[in-house]
């Protein structure tokens, strides 16, 4: 019997190593897998390359990971925010490398990795600083930039419900990068509000098929009415 559920966030992230590339889901705090990130900080792996839309908000999640000095490089679209002070400080101190990617290219490059493509020609960014030095091509009268897939060793994502085969459904706009990051990482770890019996998820409504998920942890139990 295959059961991808793991007893704790600590156990789920135990094999993340120094230097790993780690995708972290979320758009701001919506969909950010906070318990997995806390476990990762406690676990101690450093020199990480983090792929996330932002570069941390406030004191928790990706911000805490940066504050703890675990992040060598971040690939993101929107690092500078009102409450991104931990990233700002590390960046100004030259302690963190930034690869800034337009958000749609970030999504497309992650999706390309999950789909096994070698590269894509995307129109976004053509003629801007963010395409400097990159190969470009005119196709059917429009200008495109060649962009490469973004792969990762691990993806840490947050979903609403999951089952022991790793099938996932999300909640509202907390879905964001979860489904495509799950496809792009070698090992995907999902924190879910509730692990449900196999068959509870409607097969027509599963958003992430279990093939893309290796481990599932249930976060602190929440009363049923709050997770419906």
């Amino acid at each position: 019997m295959i059961d991808k559920s793991v007893v704790s966030a600590e156990a789920a992230v135990a094999d993340i190593k120094n230097g790993s590339a780690v995708m972290i889901g979320g758009f701001g705090t919506a969909g950010m897998p906070d318990q997995l990130i806390e476990a990762l900080i406690a676990q101690g792996a450093g020199d990480l390359t983090i792929i996330n839309n932002n570069a941390g908000n406030g004191e928790t999640g990706v911000a805490a990971l940066i504050k703890a000095g675990k992040v060598k490089k971040i690939i993101c679209s929107f690092p500078r925010q009102a409450d991104s002070h931990h990233f700002d400080a590390a960046y100004r101190a030259g302690q963190i490398e930034l690869e800034l990617v337009p958000q749609g290219n970030l999504a497309a490059r992650i999706q390309a990795a999950g789909a096994g493509l070698g590269a894509i020609f995307t129109p976004t960014g053509f003629g801007t600083l963010l395409a400097e030095g990159k190969e470009t091509r005119e196709i059917d009268g429009r200008q495109y930039v060649l962009e490469y897939p973004i792969h990762a060793d691990f993806a840490l994502i947050k979903a609403q419900r999951g089952d022991r085969w790793g099938n996932l459904v999300y909640r509202k706009t907390a879905r964001n990068f979860g489904p495509i990051m799950a496809m792009a990482a070698k090992t995907t770890i999902a924190q879910v509000a509730r692990i449900v019996p196999l068959g509870d998820l409607d097969p027509e409504a599963v958003v992430t098929p279990g093939i893309f998920v290796q481990r599932v942890i249930e976060t602190a139990p929440v009363p049923l009415h709050a997770v419906a």
């Binding site: 758009f27 701001g28 690092p79 337009p102 958000q103 749609g104 497309a108 600083l129 999300y170 706009t173």
Partner: protein, 217 residues
């Protein structure tokens, strides 16, 4: 001459959004356009973080922080709206499924180049978000901005000197004193506030301006 305030600017943009349009409103000033869309028109607001059919802000105290817009403000979902992942969301933009996107700007050139993501100042931390995708992806990109900087410089320019967001992507510019069309053949004036003459606009902007007062009502 009476300049439009931010509310009037938002109402002016809203007037040009037809029923059935799929629209993305950029963060900041453009977000306020939503408040002026007529409630009897089905207009579909898309948010880059994965929702279509975005509704107004929830009643205070009823915020759901997993239902937010691109500016990370709590929003609601209209009946008939739906959720999707980030790759599908940006496919909507990049392939021209979005009819209109409304963005703020530091500068717009008379040829429709847009600069709105980075001042290029040393030490400034750049952040681009979805601006580049929106700018070049939507069928039409509208810019909404005050015409002049606080220092009195025109933000409608011959050529942007801030780092570009996209080339030739803007079709129309809504400002506090006039509405412009921009594009391959340069800039034209579509509308002016009362009391302003096109010569005044030419002086304010320092760029060549056609009279193009033929905007259909």
């Amino acid at each position: 001459m009476e300049r439009l305030n931010r509310h009037q600017m938002a109402a002016r943009v809203a007037k040009d959004i037809p029923e059935g349009a799929y629209v993305n409103l950029g963060i900041g000033l453009p977000t306020t356009v939503a408040n002026y869309l007529p409630v009897d028109r089905d207009i579909f607001l898309q948010s880059e973080n994965g929702l279509l059919g975005m509704g107004p802000a929830p009643v205070p105290g009823e915020e759901d922080w997993e239902l937010i817009n691109a500016g990370k403000q709590a929003v609601t979902l209209l009946t008939g709206g739906c959720y999707f992942h980030h790759a599908d969301s940006f496919a909507m933009m990049r392939a021209g499924h979005i009819d209109i996107c409304v963005l703020g700007a530091f500068q717009v050139s008379v040829h429709g180049d847009l600069a709105n993501w980075h001042t290029g100042e040393p030490g400034a931390i750049p952040a681009v978000g979805g601006a580049m995708d929106l700018a070049i992806g939507a069928k039409q990109t509208f810019v909404m901005m005050e015409l002049l900087t606080k220092q009195g410089e025109s933000k409608l320019v011959e050529a942007c000197h801030y780092p570009l967001t996209g080339l030739g992507c803007v079709s129309r510019v809504y400002t506090d004193v006039a509405v412009f069309e921009v594009g391959p053949s340069g800039a034209g004036v579509l509308e002016m506030v009362e009391g302003l003459a096109i010569e005044d606009l030419r002086k304010l902007t320092g760029v060549p301006l056609r009279e193009s007062m033929a905007l259909p009502a």
